[in-house]
Amino acid sequence: MTEDSSQSGSSAPWAGREARRSQSEALRCGGFKEPAEAAEAEEVEQGPHTPGRGAARAKKRKAAAAAAPAPALQPVKLSKAELYKPPTSEELNQLKETEDLFHSSLLRLQIEELLKEVTLKETKKKKIDAFLHEINNLLSSIPETPETDITDQTWLPKGVKVPFLQVPFSVKGKFRFMPPAELSVVGSYLLGTCIKPEINVDVAVTMPREILQDKDNLNQRYHRKRAVYLAHIAQHLSKENLFGNVKFAYMNCNHLKPILLLRPQGKDEKLVTVRLHACPAPSFFKPSRFYPNKNNVRTAWFLEQGTPKEGAPEPATPHYNNSILCDTVLLSHLHFLSGVSTDFPGMKDGLALLKVWLNQRQLSKGWKGDGLAMGLGCFSGFLVSMLVAYLVMKRKIFKVMSGYQVLRNVLQFLGRQAGVGWIDPIFQGEDRHHIAAVFNVAEITVTLANGCTSLTSAGHPSLADFHHAFEVVFVDPSGLVNLCADMTASKYHQVQFEAKRSMEVLDDRMVDGFQALLMTSKPMLRTFDHVFHLKHVSKLQSACKKMQLLNELMDWGGNYVAAALPFIVSLLTHGLARRALLVAHSLPQTPEWPIDAEPPKHKDVGSLMFGLLFVPEFAASTLEKGPQADRPEATDFRTFWGEKSELRRFQDGSICEAVVWEADTICQKRLIPEQIVRHLLKLHADIPESSICYTGALLESVIKNGKKALGTGEEDMVNVVCSYDDLSRKLWNLEGLPLTVTAVQGVHPALRYTDVFPPIPMKPIYSFHKQIKTRHLLLPSEEKPCPAYITPLKIICHIEGSGQWPQDKEAIRRIKAAFHLQLAELLQQQHQFICRPAVTHTDVYKDGYVFRLQVAYHREPLILKEVVTPEGMLKYRDTEESQRLELETLHQPYLTSSLHGLHQQHPVFGSTCRLAKRWISAQLLSDSISEECVDLLVASLFLHPAPFTPPSSPQVGFLRFLNLLATFDWRNSPLIINLNAGLTDADCTEIKNKFVAARSRLPVMFIATPKDKWNSVWTQERPSVQILQRLLVLASESVRALEEQLMNPLSSQDVKIVFRPPLDHYDVLIHLNSNQIPRHLESVDWPVKSFSRGVVKNSAGVRILFPVVDYDPVQCYLQDLREAFNDLALFFYDKHGGEVIAVLWKPSSFQPQPFKVSSMKGRTVTTLNNELVCVPNIEAILEDFEVLGEGLVKRVEARTEKWTI
């Protein structure tokens, strides 16, 4: 987007437009001209969050902009000779391959580019190989140490700490260091499937047989030896100059399994991370000891009791067992995978794509701090490689397939089970089986791998054992290891869900699948409807106690986060069963740590984040209906919900257990899941409310009208629509009109649920106004504060076509006025509404609202368009007038009804829209972009959500809106919004092609809808290039600031910061008297002082004097200002209660111009270098600001330091 502005003057596609708009619209100030600067400036204003990053980014962007010439799509022209030359066989082959293996050539090219971007270059590989060689040499030269007790670690030098939480400390066993028996590279590096940006090379360091003792499988002895072994290596290697960085980390955040990270010295530090895994000598341990139903951690030892209790059976420790087994099969897995990947070029590409896919969804790695980090129970790249291998075995994938087809098949496989229904892991039993049955490599691979592994078919643990021990089961070729041991069921469901969504996206030809699947990242905040943080995971300790998870704790070596997480998640999924499509959690992650530091504790995981994805129909229901009171399940229900559960009699006569949640307004109902989450966690896991930070409706306070308002206005909107429906019925049945009413269509935003502050019924107080009894109306009084703003709700009233209509535009105007008069009269007579007719409309006061009826005649736009050529041919040419009329009577009603329909399907559409508009208005840009345009942008989020699901909470919708604004490539692509599914695939292609061909003549923002494919009527006039640029910068800064606030549960979470506009860019600020701002209460920060506005709210009167309608002094003032100073300055204002009008001089206005009669406005003549020139008469203009706004303007603050004439 930087390119946009830096060349906005010169680049070809904009040039024409630029000229047309004339420089008069160009802006001078830094924030508007140079986005990079703006970003920096923004950084300063928005204060506390990371000042450095933005600046650095801006610089980078600037550099990029300087390097790349203005890229823009041009229509392709090929000569005839080139098009029709005979094809070579090679070309034919390629065309055929493209057709067979990929959907389209574009996808093929895109994938090729992406792979180029993520695969490791050959030169880099050489460097890495050299580095590995050196490590190999160093490792074998580490000296031996004498034998000591494991607990005696005094021989380790000061500079290194054992990377293991040794609780309880005392274990038996001896340890001595000996150089590794074998070193081998395992994992993705050798297979060539590792992808940038994080290149990890896994090296298995085999500990010699002599180090290990007989009973090392017990009580973490093996794990501790492993840790001490690594500590000794670390201490030796840290002395070498070869390494820039020697650190410890937990393998996949499993704190039983520390690994050693080695990074090269100097500028290659970021190039590669070599990870040393210590593993036992092959076939040292007997596999049968580690079956999932065996115990290897003694309760007495774990609890530090003196003697074991007699007779008590020891619980199984499947996770512990699995962690040891994993170490024994590192090499065989490598052989297995390399066997599969030979002669299979598509596997490498496919895996790279799959890894990108997983990363974008934060399934394999999450963003932690500044880099990608593995988390506990992730769907890792290794896992996906094994899955591909499994599918090859199952003959689901063939070796001739392309990378794209591998991706498709894996997604197809994963997505197959999703959506069958939500599986509820508390009442599981067979459900667990269900997951596992999918994920069972064992049977087939064992038979295949029989020859190469030393395993005999006898004595494998049964699948049932696995299912009993683990939530997700994926058995490896050896038949012993569960590769998904750490994964929670919820995580697997998330993977399935994503896979299913992705398949739908790939099959939908209307969306750019590549972009949605591989290029869009899905951070939790933007994916899930509601998100909450568990601020302090240490609270899970008590949760473990409450849920009696001692065995699990022992199994996990005391890691209470890992032990409690599956139970917490299944608790929530059960509680939210009907409401939530998906309950997901972030992966617990621990940072790497330097070797001389203590290893991180369990609580260093930080805060855990949970995301909820709702079923819109049920998410907000207030009732949780349970089983009938006399059924046995009733007790379960009661224990699950605690005292919230009560007996209720239902309409069908049944008496059931039920939970009823308190919520009066729609916005409170949206927060019922919050109530449930808090209640359940308190009840079952002892997690206090204070350590849950729930961000579901934080933003909604800005669309509440005033401090006291209960709801966010949805109810008001419904009332308006009801009243409108009633009125339209009455209009239909009106008797006595010479022609009948054929259609009544609303056009006001409140009638499509997108008005930021919906009107509420109001009754005027007479004494507050000047009364004119003779004409039955009230006028604002000069002495009193400005009366409340009453919005006229505009309605178009189509009158039947007939030969009686005149065919002349002036006469039609008269006839329409006559209709307005008559409508008023008839409504007054037949329904006793009080009306106030005018030439262009009739205002009707009904139920406390004011409706503005406007009569329309369907042929009028045509009559305005008529042009007769000299030959007498009648042609229709668009004129400004006809376009305006079409907009009012055709496009606006259509849009209103379509969006009204959309709101019925997606109940949060309206609120999302309102948040978006509130933000734009708060940034003072509401007059620079049309309201309908914003509505459409938000509609696109609901109609084309890929890769997300349609938002079910305003917050996530708003975040995605900001992201859309900030990232959409307006220059090269049209935004196509398929309202009412009125566009076909072919239409979309046609729109795109025509768009490219005619780019320079089209508006900067191009939005196509089924009824408006070629013109983008809502963005014709506004926004201008500069305003759009400004909007993009503001959006990207806002989304960043907002996400930072929401992601940090420990901060104040002041989300209003993105609604407070930066005012430093502006040249003049006009401060207004708040008593003359009728919408003062709507401002973002609710005013301390408020004024009486002369109305009784929420009440309506009959037979009253007509109230003051559509009178907003600030808007009058702005209109006057713009009329007077349009070519000198731009005026910005927050129409929802802003106290400041910000003025920006146009850059061209300060340049002295030669005297011209037409350009003298507000200027004065002076001599410069003996020439007569005109310059703006700034002093006088500043005084004019005050004169024009007499009574409204408090003071004019001229920031004279910002400009020079």
Binding site: A68, L106, R775, P780, A811, A817, E1123, I1178
Partner: protein
Amino acid sequence: MAAAEPRVAATAPPGYTALAVKFGARQRSPHCLLVKEHRVREGPADTHPPQRTLFVLNVPPYCGSEALSRLFARCGAVQAVDLRDKPGPGEKAEKGTSKFFTDRTATGFRVAYVVFRKPSGVQAAKALSQEGPLLISTDSHPVKTGISKWIARYAESVVDQEELKAEVDAYMQDYDKKVAEEEAKAAKEEGVPDEEGWVKVTRKGRKPGLPRTEAANLRVLEREKRKRARKELLNFYAWQHRETKREHIAQLRKKFEEDKQRIALMRAQRKFRPY
């Protein structure tokens, strides 16, 4: 900005005289009106007779025609003040001055034609530049701005129903009469050949012709095209077959080229960095 001494509004382009003008006594910086004698080569029928008309540039937004005529009243009796957005030849005088159906009046900084009763007024007005700044709003004749102006504007926007009705009725009567006359005239000419013998065919006649509109023309062309397409045989001859294949490959090539371009563009924008 040099805020020190208010610029003396003495400089003026040749032919013009600069007059300083302020809103009220309280304001410090004046605007500068540029005035000159109105000179055009038009007949005396024009609304702005050259001798007696003063052309005024840069009239501030709060200065209406009343205020303007008061400003220049001291130079001689003012006959009319015409405020415009742009200078230009006088439009045809507002036919049938309608109270409700007038178009938008000029706003912002405007130009004005001030017509004096006597030519001497013009010269006297030019001489005003020697005096101090003129005041638009004085104690005796305050000009409404701001809140009071907007309230007044709001009050004005309320129309008198009876009056509006009367005006509409009158207009429509006139219009109906005019239409009736035209129809009568057309009916009279129906079927009557002109001097060269041509007969005008209208939709009203006994044999209505095809309407002469663009849409009708297009419809006819479209129908023709469809008819031709129906008759044509596809892939009947060998050469047609060849042609189709060739066309298909050409299409694919074109698409491929387009895609390549799109990719190049995306690469330039670094669109392939997944994260």
